[in-house]
């Protein structure tokens, strides 16, 4: 093959590729096809593998339990007697525990329905450049693109793309992640930006007069329309006036350990109307009180 033919072939292939690329940018046809087929096959392979892994791990644990069960049995019987006595004395502690459990429940109303999902893997393949995980729910099982993900500790991220039974989740640490947040105590609004795996998060656009303190919890404000309001996201580590902008430079740490996730909760919108906190609006409009001179 002559050099001229080679160049001609390379040029034709390049034009074809760029044509396909720009057509796909407009229609998203190939992205959808790859998500529906490629991601579905990946999920179908990894789901039984994870189940088998769980079964093997539990069998291994049970074997070890059996080995030491005789020795432990005697000791446990003795402990049970002690603990029963202690349990009776700790009735008040149990009541407190119930109250605390209710307190740490996720602050979501009936407009969001939590759905459990298994983490199948971290980022996979040469094309996985974003900080992401793959989970065992897809668009037909509650994991549609945009669905927020949480654990009992706080926010994880949101679904980026989905096949029927698996989806890829963009973690809040990814540099392309933006989340509208409030500081919990001072209610200072800002935008939480990911800086990459293992890096601290940054909070941008917080006014200089805001009284945000280190240790304060950042919660979702819901102003971006992507996440429900009130989900804990990160803890403030460092607050200082920025050298380059007119805002504060705030560093934060995610509340959830994103490197060791096993199970997550998807918050699926139910479509139910949001309950009103301030009571029902009056049926008739009541204007401001009339001035004294106008009253008869």
């Amino acid at each position: 093959m002559t050099l001229r033919r080679l160049l001609l072939l390379a040029g034709t292939l390049l034009i074809l590729f760029l044509g396909m690329y720009s057509w796909n940018q407009r229609t998203r046809f190939l992205d959808d096809l790859a998500a529906k087929l490629g991601l579905e096959i990946t999920g179908a392979v990894l789901t039984p593998i994870r189940s088998a892994q769980d079964t093997a791990e539990s069998m291994w644990d049970r074997y070890f339990d059996l080995v030491s069960v005789r020795e432990e049995n005697e000791a446990l019987k003795q402990k049970v007697a002690e603990l029963e006595a202690r349990l009776l004395a700790n009735g008040e502690d149990l009541a407190e525990l119930k109250r605390l459990r209710a307190l740490v429940q996720l602050p979501v109303d009936q407009t969001w329905r939590p759905l459990g999902a298994r983490v199948l893997s971290g980022r996979m393949g040469p094309n996985a450049v974003l900080d992401s995980i793959t989970i065992s729910r897809g668009y037909s099982t509650g994991g549609r693109p945009g669905t927020p993900l949480v654990t009992h500790l706080g926010l994880v991220g949101r679904v980026l793309k989905a096949s029927a039974h698996s989806s890829i989740v963009l973690l809040l640490t990814d540099p392309s992640s933006r989340i509208a947040v409030f500081s919990q105590e001072t209610r200072a609004p800002g935008i939480l930006v990911g800086m990459g795996t293992g890096q601290k998060l940054e909070v941008n656009f917080v006014q200089r007069d805001a009284k945000v303190k280190p240790g304060e919890i950042l919660i979702t404000s819901g102003l971006d329309g992507k996440y429900p309001k009130g989900i804990p996201v990160a803890k403030v580590l460092k607050v200082a006036p920025s050298d380059y902008t007119q805002f504060m430079a705030i560093k934060a740490d995610p509340l959830v350990d994103l490197q060791h996730l096993e199970e997550v909760l998807l918050l699926e919108p139910t479509g139910a109307p949001r309950p009103l906190d301030l009571g029902e609006a009056p049926k008739e409009f009541i204007g401001p009180p009339a001035p004294k001179s106008a009253t008869p």
Partner: protein, 143 residues
């Protein structure tokens, strides 16, 4: 294929299927490549997070580098695969560098360098292992 997916789940950023593509090219098995290559592309694009297109460029780079190497070397040789994998490591970084501004994504220089190095180290050893297992297969020997 399932083994490749499991391995890719264990090692972030690694492309295990490249080794399969190299073996197909070495054996000039273009019939199987005709259906396997689109499947590889769909799989990698599906499990990835970049917009569609980068894997096509990546596999095109693998094929072009292989064809260029064929002019100079004996392709069944381990040294050839070793040199090819070193070039593939560079190509891995080049594709990430090329596609990042095109797809409006940030380029993690250190992370991409690490992953391209892992890819370069992985290919020759996986190729050697796969070729060895293929030679043990009696069906292949009959052919």
């Amino acid at each position: 294929m399932a083994g490749a997916i499991i391995l890719q789940a264990a090692v972030p950023g690694l492309d295990v299927l490249t080794v399969g593509l190299i073996i197909l090219l070495q054996e000039r098995d273009y019939k199987n490549m005709l259906w396997l290559l689109p499947l590889f592309i769909l799989l990698q694009e599906g499990m990835g997070t970049r917009p569609f297109g980068a894997v096509i460029v990546w596999y095109a780079a693998v094929i072009v580098l292989f064809k260029m190497g064929r002019w100079l070397f004996e392709v069944e040789n381990f040294i050839f695969v070793f040199l090819l994998s070193a070039c593939l490591g560079a190509a891995y970084y080049a594709v990430a560098w090329l596609m990042a501004p095109l797809q409006n994504l940030p380029l993690d220089v250190q992370g991409t360098l690490d992953r391209s190095l892992i890819q370069a180290i992985f290919v020759p050893f996986a190729w050697r292992l796969l070729v060895a297992t293929r030679h043990w297969n009696p069906h292949d020997q009959e052919n």
